[in-house]
């Protein structure tokens, strides 16, 4: 069992969720309630990671974040080290390839909050923050939990993009999914099996928690 890889996967998933959920809430609310020209294009662009082969997405991220890219150069100028093949680069890639998994469930959830409910909150004198905290987040809670689980589980399981952008540097970019692949390549089926079983259990627990939270939220809403 490669505990380093396993802990790195958990760390990557935790950071991805921590950054993507607030960002996703902002994007999801925007997409759910605003109408503007080009919205369909924005939605299609956000959904791309769902349909693109991971290696293709990984390739573009590698090129887009690499040392020759503007983003890569700016990053290297500021931090003195390249972005690709680092944990930070992997985190940015993880946020991008998880966008649809986080945004779409939350967008659907925010769409169910009617204009009248939001207007009623305004008429109750609520500030935007209070509306978000007291009305919108509780009502969109099932979608937020689904987004949390999908993002977490998908980050832990992602292979193609991680390999392209991060390689397989132990302790830095070698996640559990990469480590399982390495163990299979080395005919170490016992370690591969143990890690696979561990990921399976974690995924099941995550989905179970999300379902439980969703059904409780549904019961509260009546």
């Amino acid at each position: 069992m490669d505990w380093t890889a396993f802990l790195l996967s958990l760390k990557l998933a935790a950071w991805t969720v921590a950054i993507l959920l607030p960002l996703g809430i902002f994007i999801a609310r925007h997409l759910a309630w605003r109408r503007y020209p080009g919205k369909a294009f924005v939605e299609a662009a956000l959904a791309l990671p769902l349909v693109l082969p991971p290696t293709v997405l990984g390739y573009y991220l590698l090129v887009g974040l690499g040392r020759a890219s503007p983003i890569g150069q700016v990053y290297e100028n500021i931090f003195g080290a390249p972005l690709v093949f680092t944990f930070e680069g992997l985190l940015i890639a993880s946020i991008i390839f998880n966008l649809p998994f986080a945004v779409q469930p939350m967008q659907r959830a925010f769409e169910t909050i009617s204009q009248e409910i939001r207007d009623a909150a305004s008429c109750c004198g609520m500030t935007s923050w209070r509306k978000l905290w007291r009305i919108e987040l509780p009502l969109a809670w099932p979608g937020i939990m689904t987004a949390f689980v999908l993002t977490f589980a998908h980050t832990i399981g992602e292979f193609g993009v991680v390999l392209m952008v991060g390689g397989s540097i132990p302790g830095e970019t070698r996640t559990a999914a990469i480590a399982i692949y390495d163990r299979v390549q080395a005919f170490d089926n016992a370690a591969a099996g143990a890690m696979s079983a561990m990921l399976l259990v974690i995924s099941l627990i995550a989905i179970g928690i999300a379902n439980l939270a969703t059904s409780r939220a549904g019961a509260r809403r009546g």
Binding site: S114, E116, I117, D119, A120, A121, S122, C123, C124, G125, M126, T127, R130, R134, I135, P138, L139, A217, R220, R221, G222
Partner: protein
């Protein structure tokens, strides 16, 4: 004279997306009913008052404070206007109890005092004991009362009611009408009620404003508008069936009479100034003010604007029957008369029968002539 700084003053104008040209005034403690067909802009006006929707040009002020003034670029945020809004679907927060819904209207002060005040408000709308229930556990009428309590929790400058009785059954609606009537005695703010139900507007409104395609056509006391519409369009919108054209035959102000030529019949109406002999005019009479001549016991009343004709059709609704009479020597729409079903039976009024009726002189209302519209338009739902 009313203090113009008190109460609600609204003046809105725009061409698109929803054309509007509306002017409203509602005094404190008064109920102003906005009446009009679907799409006439009633709910848009309510949203504009609350600051939920911006209108291109206009001014909204309440109790001396300007909430919106397009010329001066003033647009106060909804939460600062302090409006109580009861939405058509009530818009209760489904994840919160009745008590918590009302508490949300009380702002973010000390929890204990907010809770006490919310309980008082729920008692006021007779929902004591149901504080812990969520909206899904309440009936339509109870949800409406929570919505009213939540709206009042803001101690609002104005109370806005957007068709609040449309989602409940008839019995509940009548009970809620009575409760609102009782409650409004205790409320000192202007109340604007949007409704498409004329009966409701007459029952609850101190004043009524008729809206059509975003325009305020007439504002006044409900019974005045029903009896004396400003024009053919208002008459149609308040569901007056007897709308006809005639020519002024003579003006006799000394006798208090304006004579009309209607087909081959001359009618006498209450004196209507502003018209000259020969003018083409529209006139209306409520169907309840067309009186049947009793066959067996004719009274002196038969001399008042007598008209004869043949019964075309009869439609009974509850205890009242509406009789359509094809008037002799007059082409066009029938004259409608409504009367109790038992009176129609006793006088053998039936389709095909000949009848004589009188049009009560003082209930004939004369208006400037407008282009007449098709019958489909004339009978459009309000």
């Amino acid at each position: 004279m009313a203090d113009r700084s008190k109460g609600l003053d609204v003046s809105l104008e725009q061409d698109a997306p929803i054309p509007l040209n509306a002017r409203l005034r509602c005094e404190p403690g008064q109920v102003l009913a906005l009446v009009g067909p679907s799409g006439s802009g009633k709910s848009t006006i309510l949203s504009a008052i609350a600051g939920l929707r911006n209108i291109a040009n206009g001014r909204i002020s309440c109790n001396g404070s300007v909430w919106y003034d397009s010329a001066k670029h003033i647009n106060m945020a909804t939460r600062l206007r302090r409006v109580g809004f009861v939405f058509q679907s009530y818009a209760l927060f489904p994840h919160l109890s009745a008590l918590a819904n009302v508490m949300e209207g009380l702002g973010s002060g000390y929890r204990g005092s907010r809770e006490n005040r919310a309980r008082e408000l729920l008692e006021l709308v007779r929902l004591g004991g149901l504080e812990a229930r969520r909206p899904s556990e309440l009936s339509g009428g109870q949800q409406q009362r929570v919505a009213v309590a939540r709206a009042l929790a803001r101690d609002p400058n104005v109370l806005l009611l957007d068709e609040p009785f449309s989602s409940v059954d008839r019995v509940t609606r009548q009970r809620l009408h009575r409760e609102l009537g009782h409650l409004r005695g205790e409320l000192q703010m202007p109340i604007v009620l949007v409704t498409h139900d004329l009966e409701e507007a007459v029952q609850l409104g101190d004043r009524m404003s008729i809206l059509h395609r975003g325009h305020t056509l007439q504002e006044g006391a409900p019974r005045d508008i029903m009896a004396r519409p400003a024009n053919r369009e208002v008459a149609r919108l308040v569901d007056l069936k007897n709308i006809f054209q005639a020519r002024i035959a003579a003006q006799r102000p000394g006798a208090g009479i304006t004579a009309l030529v209607w087909g081959s019949t001359t009618l006498e109406a209450g004196y209507a100034p502003g018209f000259a002999a020969g003018d083409l005019v529209d006139w209306v009479i409520p169907s309840g003010r067309v009186i049947l001549h009793r066959r067996r016991r004719p009274s002196r009343g038969i001399r008042e604007n007598p008209v004869r004709g043949r019964v075309e059709s009869m439609v009974a609704l509850g205890d009242t029957v509406t009789v359509a009479i094809k008037v002799d020597s007059l082409d066009g729409y029938p004259l409608f008369m409504s009367m109790p079903v038992h009176a129609a039976e006793r006088n053998s009024v039936a389709p095909g029968e000949r009848v004589g009726v009188s049009l009560i002189r003082d209930d004939i209302h004369i208006m400037p002539a407008q282009q007449s519209e098709t019958r489909d338009d004339a009978s459009a739902d309000i």
